[in-house]
C-alpha cells in the first residue's frame, strides 16, 4: 500500500550530537508524496522541517547528525538503506533540490550555464555542445530572457529573483520526479516571491512533477500546495488537503497558526500570537509537545503523545481532543477557554 506513493517517510527520527547533548530534531515523522502533487511541510524555525528535507536527499551532515530510526522510501527503494554511491545516482537525477538563499546557493566563480548542467553532464554523459544547449533550454524554461548570453555569465551578474530561477533550473536539469524546495521564497522580495511561486506551480503542472515544499509561510502553502503537513517540535501534528486544513483545522497549533494570520475579508481584528516558545529538543516532553502552549491542554497531554485521528479524505491530526474519551471542545469553551 505504502509502496504506491512516490515518496514515503515512515517514522523518521534524526538526532544531532552537539556539545550540549543530543538534539532530537526529528522525532518520528511520517508522511508521503504522490506523483504529480505538491505537498507543503509547514512549521516554525527549528521544528525539523529542513532536516526532514535533508534526510530525503541523504544530505544530513554525519557526524553530527544521524538517522536514528525510520525509513525513507522513494519509488519503492529505501533511501535510508542506500550506499553513498547509490545516493549519488539518485541525487540530482531523480530528486532535485531548490535551496533557500539564492544569493549563496550558486558558486560565484563558475558560469551559470555550467552550474545548471553540471548534474546533467554527470548523470547523462553528454558532450559540451549538448550540455550548453540544455543549459540554454533550461534557462529559457525558467523564464530568463536572452538565455544564450546569460548562460555564459556569472551569478553576480544576476538579481536575486533571477538567481532563484537559476537554482530551480539546476534542480530540474535532469527532469527529476521529485523536487524538494526548502523555503524557496523566504529570501526574496514579496513581488519576486509571487513570480517564483508561479514558476514552480507552472513547472509542476507542465512536467507532472511532485514537489515537496518546505515553508513557514501559510501564504505560500495556500498558493501552491495540494496537501500540507504541519510540523511542530519534530513531530507531525496535522496533515491533510490544503482545503481541509485551512477550512477545518483540527489541531490547536494549526488553529493558532490560522489566527495569527491577517485576513483580507471580514472585520479588522488584532492578530493573536501563540504564547510561549517551542519545547527544548534536548529534552523533548514525554507527551504532546504543544501541551505547554495549548489552551485546551488536559492531563493526558503531558503524559502521552497522542496518536493521529483520521477525519476522512486523508485529513489527520494528532491531538487528544479528538479522542472519543475527551470532552467536547464546546464544553471547554463553555468552561472559560476560548477559541476562534
Amino acid at each position: 500500500m505504502a509502496e504506491q506513493h512516490l515518496l514515503t517517510i515512515d517514522n523518521l527520527k534524526v538526532n544531532f550530537k552537539t556539545y550540549g547533548g543530543e538534539v532530537q530534531a526529528v522525532r518520528g515523522v511520517s508522511f508521503h508524496v504522490d506523483k504529480g502533487e505538491t505537498v507543503a511541510v509547514v512549521g516554525e524555525s527549528g521544528c525539523g522541517k529542513s532536516v526532514t528535507a535533508q534526510a530525503i536527499m541523504g544530505l544530513i551532515p554525519a557526524p553530527p547528525g544521524r538517522i536514528v530510526e525510520g525509513r525513507i522510501v522513494f519509488e519503492g527503494k529505501e533511501i535510508t538503506a542506500m550506499s553513498k554511491k547509490e545516493l549519488l545516482e539518485i541525487r540530482g537525477s531523480q530528486i532535485g533540490m531548490v535551496f533557500q538563499d539564492p544569493m549563496t546557493a550558486l558558486n560565484p566563480t563558475m558560469k551559470v550555464g555550467r552550474q545548471i548542467v553540471e548534474g546533467f553532464v554527470r548523470h547523462h554523459q553528454v558532450s559540451r555542445e549538448e550540455a550548453q544547449k540544455r543549459a540554454i533550454e533550461l534557462l529559457r524554461m525558467v523564464g530568463i530572457p536572452d538565455p544564450e548570453k546569460r548562460a555564459d555569465q556569472y551569478p553576480h551578474q544576476f538579481s536575486g529573483g533571477m538567481r532563484q530561477r537559476v537554482v530551480i533550473a539546476i534542480a530540474l536539469a535532469c527532469q527529476p520526479k521529485l523536487v524538494i524546495a526548502d523555503e524557496p521564497t523566504t529570501a526574496l522580495d514579496v513581488t519576486i516571491q509571487a513570480q517564483i511561486l508561479d514558476l514552480l506551480k507552472r513547472l509542476q503542472e507542465e512536467q507532472g512533477l511532485s514537489v515537496l515544499i518546505i515553508t513557514h509561510d501559510l501564504g505560500v502553502v495556500a498558493e501552491i500546495a495540494h496537501r500540507m503537513v504541519v510540523m511542530y517540535a519534530g513531530v507531525v501534528v496535522e496533515t491533510g488537503s490544503v482545503k481541509d486544513v485551512f477550512s477545518h483545522p483540527r489541531h490547536p497549533y494549526t488553529w493558532g497558526l490560522m489566527r495569527s494570520l491577517p485576513r483580507l475579508d471580514g472585520e479588522k481584528q488584532r492578530l493573536v500570537p501563540i504564547e510561549g516558545t517551542p519545547p527544548d529538543l534536548f529534552h523533548p516532553p514525554k507527551g504532546c509537545p504543544f501541551a505547554a502552549r495549548c489552551e485546551f491542554a488536559m492531563e493526558i497531554c503531558d503524559r502521552q503523545i497522542p496518536e493521529p485521528t483520521a477525519f476522512g479524505g486523508g485529513h489527520q491530526a494528532a491531538c487528544w481532543l479528538h479522542d472519543p474519551r475527551a470532552p467536547r471542545i464546546e464544553e471547554l469553551v463553555a468552561a472559560g477557554r476560548q477559541t476562534e
Binding site: L87, R91, A105, N107, P108, H156
Partner: protein, 310 residues
C-alpha cells in the same frame, strides 16, 4: 583596460621613485662611509681621490640626482668595494641561481601547501588534520638555518642522495629549494585549510552535493578556486623575497646567488650596492604584486581591475 595599465605603470614608477628616495636618505643617515674600515691604512690624499671618484665629495642632493640619472638609464652604478664589477653585473651573475632556487621553492610550497591544506580541511578533527597542522607548526617554528643543516645531515650525509652544498647540477638545487620551501609551505597549508573549511560550509557546496556530484569533483570544481584567494595574496611578497635570493640558505649551501649582496652591501656601506639591491627587490615585488592583481581577476570573476567595464 589600456588606460588602466598606463595608470598602473605610472604608479609603479612613482612607488619605485619613493623607495629610491627613502633608501637614499636612510642610507646616508647611517654613520660611516665605504672607506671607514680602511681609514688607518689609507693616506688622506688617496682617500680624497677615492671619494672624488665615486662622487662622494659632492653634496648629497647632487649625488642623489646623479644616481637618478644613471637609474633612468638602468645603470645601478659601480660597486665601491669590488671596483671591477658594477651592481648590474653582480645582479646578472647571481640572479639566475637565486631565481631558480626561489621559483622551485615557491612551486614546492604552493603544490604541497595547497594539497596538505585541502587534506586537512576535508579531514577536519581527524588524525590527518592533526598531522598536517603539526607539520605546519614545525614549518613556522623551525627557521631555515636549522632546516638546512638537518636536510644536509639526513639527505646528503647519512643517505647521500644529494650533494652537500655548492652549485652545479640540478641535484645541487634540491636541498636549498626544500630548505627555502618549508616555512612558506607551512603558512600556505594553514591558509588553505582555513579557507577550504569555510568554502566547504558554503551553500553552493550543498547545491553541488544535491546535484549528485562526488566529493572529489566538488573539491576540485567548486572548492579550490573559491578557497585559493588568501594563498594567492600571500604569494606576492613570497615570490619576490624568494627569487631575489636569501642570505642564510645561500650562505649555508655556498650558492653564488644575490642574497649575500643585500647584507654585504650594508656592512660595507657600499652605497650603490645597497641602493641597487633595494631597487631590484622593489621592482620585482611591484611587478609580482601587479601580476597577482591580474591573477585575482582570473580566479574570481567578481573582481575587476577597473571600476568601469573595458
Amino acid at each position: 583596460m589600456s588606460h588602466y595599465l598606463a595608470k598602473r605603470f605610472l604608479m609603479m614608477l612613482l612607488t619605485l621613485w619613493i623607495i629610491v628616495t627613502l633608501t637614499f636618505s636612510l642610507m646616508h643617515a647611517i654613520p660611516g662611509d665605504p672607506f671607514a674600515s680602511d681609514s688607518d691604512q689609507l693616506p688622506e690624499q688617496i682617500r680624497a681621490n677615492l671619494r672624488a671618484k665615486y662622487h662622494l665629495d659632492e653634496p648629497l642632493p647632487i649625488q642623489y640626482l646623479l644616481y637618478l640619472k644613471n637609474l633612468i638609464m638602468l645603470d645601478l652604478g659601480p660597486s665601491i668595494k669590488s671596483d671591477t664589477r658594477g651592481v648590474n653585473d653582480m645582479i646578472a651573475d647571481g640572479f639566475g641561481a637565486s631565481a631558480l632556487l626561489g621559483a622551485q621553492a615557491v612551486a614546492i610550497a604552493l603544490v604541497f601547501g595547497i594539497f596538505f591544506g585541502i587534506v586537512a580541511a576535508l579531514n577536519r578533527g581527524r588524525w590527518l588534520d592533526y598531522a598536517a597542522m603539526a607539520l605546519a607548526v614545525l614549518g613556522v617554528a623551525i627557521p631555515s638555518f636549522i632546516m638546512a643543516p638537518l636536510l644536509i645531515n639526513f639527505l646528503a650525509i647519512k643517505w647521500p642522495i644529494f650533494p652537500v652544498a655548492t652549485w652545479g647540477t640540478w641535484m645541487h638545487t634540491v636541498l636549498p629549494s626544500l630548505a627555502l620551501a618549508f616555512g612558506p609551505l607551512a603558512i600556505i597549508t594553514r591558509y588553505m585549510r582555513a579557507s577550504m573549511i569555510e568554502v566547504m560550509n558554503q551553500n553552493y557546496i550543498r547545491t553541488a552535493e544535491a546535484k549528485g556530484i562526488p566529493t572529489l569533483a566538488i573539491v576540485v570544481r567548486h572548492g579550490i578556486r573559491n578557497a585559493i584567494l588568501p594563498v594567492v595574496t600571500f604569494l606576492g611578497p613570497l615570490i619576490a623575497s624568494l627569487i631575489t635570493g636569501t642570505f642564510v640558505v645561500e650562505k649555508i649551501f655556498a650558492i653564488p646567488g644575490i642574497g649575500k649582496y643585500f647584507v654585504d652591501g650594508i656592512f660595507n656601506r657600499d652605497y650603490p650596492v645597497i641602493l641597487g639591491t633595494t631597487v631590484f627587490y622593489s621592482s620585482i615585488l611591484i611587478i609580482t604584486i601587479f601580476l597577482i592583481d591580474l591573477a585575482y581577476t582570473l580566479i574570481d570573476p567578481r573582481i575587476k581591475l577597473t571600476n568601469k567595464e573595458g
